[in-house]
Symmetry: C2
DNA sequence: ACGGATGTGTGACCTACATCACTTTCGAAA
DNA sequence: TTTCGAAAGTGATGTAGGTCACACATCCGT
């Protein structure tokens, strides 16, 4: 699907915008293409935008002092990604975002988001709703982390996102689950 | 501080409401008092409200099949609590909310929140911003979970919320950190 | 002041997962 | 087809934290 169509369908699920309003909204996005392995945000960057995935697959992740990687989120088409902590608090990135596959994204700056949110009530509504979904998902994941062992969480993940199995390697799945790739390999 | 004042100050940090607008907003809240140990939401309930804490301390928590408790959140004054998953998706509660101390809360129904959000753009703005904060905090906690050991997370928690040390017992702290009370006891 | 919850410390073990080291598989480039 | 590098499996061993059991403390209602 074309980028504009993809975003329009995505928004329409929670906000009612006229065509003119959507066009205005859309005019603030910049389309960008990245190649597999390219970084969109790397630690230390100033973060001023968030990214709507049109095609491909991104990951947002943290690297600790021992160079161990923890994946916060995979971002497939119609998902959003950024370092939201850095974005909202105007601090430097501690989270990286890069491309698992070649990707096409729509880029929206923080300033523009705030501007359109105040111009169009329905856009603010959309972003509230989107963050709600993310918040609930994060809480669920936290609970699953505390409550379930790796095997269960692995099966849960594959059930929730079957497409991951083909797109991302097991080392990345392990980094998402917060275990070593060896442990994952032993099921 | 009086309930109305407390909410007004809290909202004013992110949204500009006239006094009339705030009064309209406030008119949808119901004040309720609970005693230490009382449940505000218990698993299986229909959840139709969220709660703004005026005084006291709540916890939201999950009980698994082995009757083990995991605390999602402590809610001190000016914090909000509910089973947001159940609230937004109109499903039955899987999360409990109860009172660690006697508590006074302001209760807002889901329907009323959506109504005021659509009536007052600034109220929608406030709730977007509030959820953003929660989302970022949940992601940070998730990362800390994957990255840090219990001791570090315990110190981090006490640094972030020193007031917890006096209000809640170590068994509850352990349930928040996702470890056994014995392990916490051994520092 | 008593007795029973409820919280907290501690010892002896157990287990899930980490770590390190090595091997095998597989896919893409030459 | 060969070669090379990355991804994936596997064995041996270490360790953080879990579990069970019991000992003290408190706190609170009668």
């Amino acid at each position: 699907m074309e980028a504009k169509e993809s975003l329009k369908t995505h928004i329409a699920k929670t906000a009612s915008l006229t065509d003119d309003e959507f066009d205005h909204f859309f005019s603030h996005f910049k389309s960008r293409r990245f190649q597999k392995g390219q970084f969109i945000i790397s630690g230390g960057d100033i973060v001023d935008s968030e990214y709507f995935v049109v095609a491909g697959c991104l990951k947002s992740f943290f690297i600790n002092d021992d160079m161990k990687m923890f994946i916060l989120q995979f971002a497939m088409p119609t998902w959003w990604a950024s370092d939201y902590n850095a974005l909202y608090n105007h601090t430097k990135a501690t989270i990286n975002v890069d491309c698992i596959t070649d990707a096409e994204v729509l880029c929206l700056s923080n300033d523009d988001r705030e501007k359109i949110c105040s111009e169009l009530h329905q856009v603010e509504h959309f972003f509230r709703w989107r963050t709600n979904k993310g918040y609930v998902a994060a809480q669920k994941r936290l609970l699953s982390f505390m409550n379930n062992n790796v095997k269960y969480r692995y099966e849960e993940l594959l059930k929730l996102y079957p497409e991951l199995h083909d797109t991302v390697g097991k080392n990345l799945i392990a980094a998402y689950l917060g275990v070593s790739r060896e442990t994952l390999s032993r099921l």
